[in-house]
């Protein structure tokens, strides 16, 4: 469902704010600084970062290939390790038996159980590779408009947060009210009318 796919879904945002200095350099630095990190050999279960549309698994922003004509094209990558519940259950049971044998007790305290679970999750996270998901982004900067090629709410939230951190700019989700509110021809009087608008009845009432 990406930019080059035969079928795409687009969530639209308006970019708000100003950058200090060159926009291209600000974007390049932000993309480099918050590029996706590999967590396959780490205990982390989730990583979120920027990547390239054409090389999502080997990102590099040095050559400026994200800047095309009058838009930026890059992608948001979310790597997530999903450890099956049954696997956690099995390893936790084994670790509990081992711990009880080591301590000579037939029970574990609540804090011991908690520590054991954290240890098991860390060990498993090191062994399980993260599954990546890549979501293309197009930023049409003359229009202050950004398109996310995904309609998943969690992806949108991850984008809004990382975008603000990376470029010190904010994203406002476009939907009918914000499209109306940002409309260049909207006078103050019309804005008042918009804010007070109530639903119309399209079905003809009997006798009318």
């Amino acid at each position: 469902m990406g930019f080059f796919s035969s079928s795409a879904a687009i969530s639209r945002y308006r970019v708000e704010g100003q950058t200090d200095g060159s926009l291209l350099e600000t974007v390049r630095e932000g993309l480099k600084r918050y590029a996706i990190r590999d967590i396959d050999q780490q205990a982390e279960e989730r990583a979120i970062g920027w990547t390239c549309v054409d090389r999502p698994y080997a990102p590099s922003f040095e050559d400026g290939n994200f800047a095309i004509a009058d838009f930026f094209l890059f992608a948001l990558r979310i790597d997530k390790k999903t450890i099956p519940a049954k696997v956690i259950q099995k390893h936790l049971a084994e670790a509990s038996v081992k711990r009880k044998a080591e301590t000579g007790r037939d029970f574990l305290s609540r804090s011991e159980k908690k520590m054991l679970k954290e240890h098991v999750l860390n060990v498993l996270a090191l062994r399980i590779p993260a599954a990546p998901s890549v979501h293309d982004i197009l930023w049409a900067y003359p229009e202050n408009e950004l398109w996310l090629f995904s309609t998943q709410k969690a992806v949108g939230e991850a984008l809004e947060s990382l975008f603000a951190k990376s470029f010190n700019l904010s994203l406002v989700r476009l939907f009918p009210y914000t499209m109306a509110a940002f409309h260049p021809g909207l006078t103050d009087a019309r804005r008042d009318l918009l804010n007070k608008l109530t639903p119309s009845s399209f079905a003809k009432r009997d006798g009318s």
């Binding site: 687009i10 969530s11 639209r12 989700r173 639903p199």
Partner: protein
Amino acid sequence: MMDIAYALKRFDFLGKEFLTWLWYAVENQPDTLRRIDPEMAALEIGNRLVLHNKNQQSTETVTIRGDSAGMEEGILALRKGALVAEMSLIYRSGNESWHFSIKGETLDPSSVKTPKTGRVETSEDIEGAAIEKYHLYRRVTDLVQSLFSHFLEQRLDPRWQSAVLPAIQVWISTKEG
């Protein structure tokens, strides 16, 4: 501007009213639509239409799908007070066509199928292909924006209550399915 989460809920009806107006405009005002987008050859309702009838307790959903689907059920739902919550559209311009869906909640285009573009075979092809694809997507987002702007102008005008809404009500009550 008001809080985004609040505005989404408070103005939930606006996008659905727009899609309901659009169905009316597609059937009754093709010339107006062509004035809004002079490059438009035609705008047609596609093979999927979802209507919501919201009352205090629940929301009734009517879904019409399939290439040969009749619109009787949709018209019947409108007569009972439903609004269009989602519709698929076919936009034609020149010899090309764009297929896409929009939901009233966000007006985001989904299932967007643009006219075919050249194959990307080398990394050098990407830039040209991206520019071409961007302009094809832009036709859809600009179209939705222009149609919505036109609707909004009508919706905020006193003539909405005196002329536009009554005309839509007559269409709904007299249209044959």
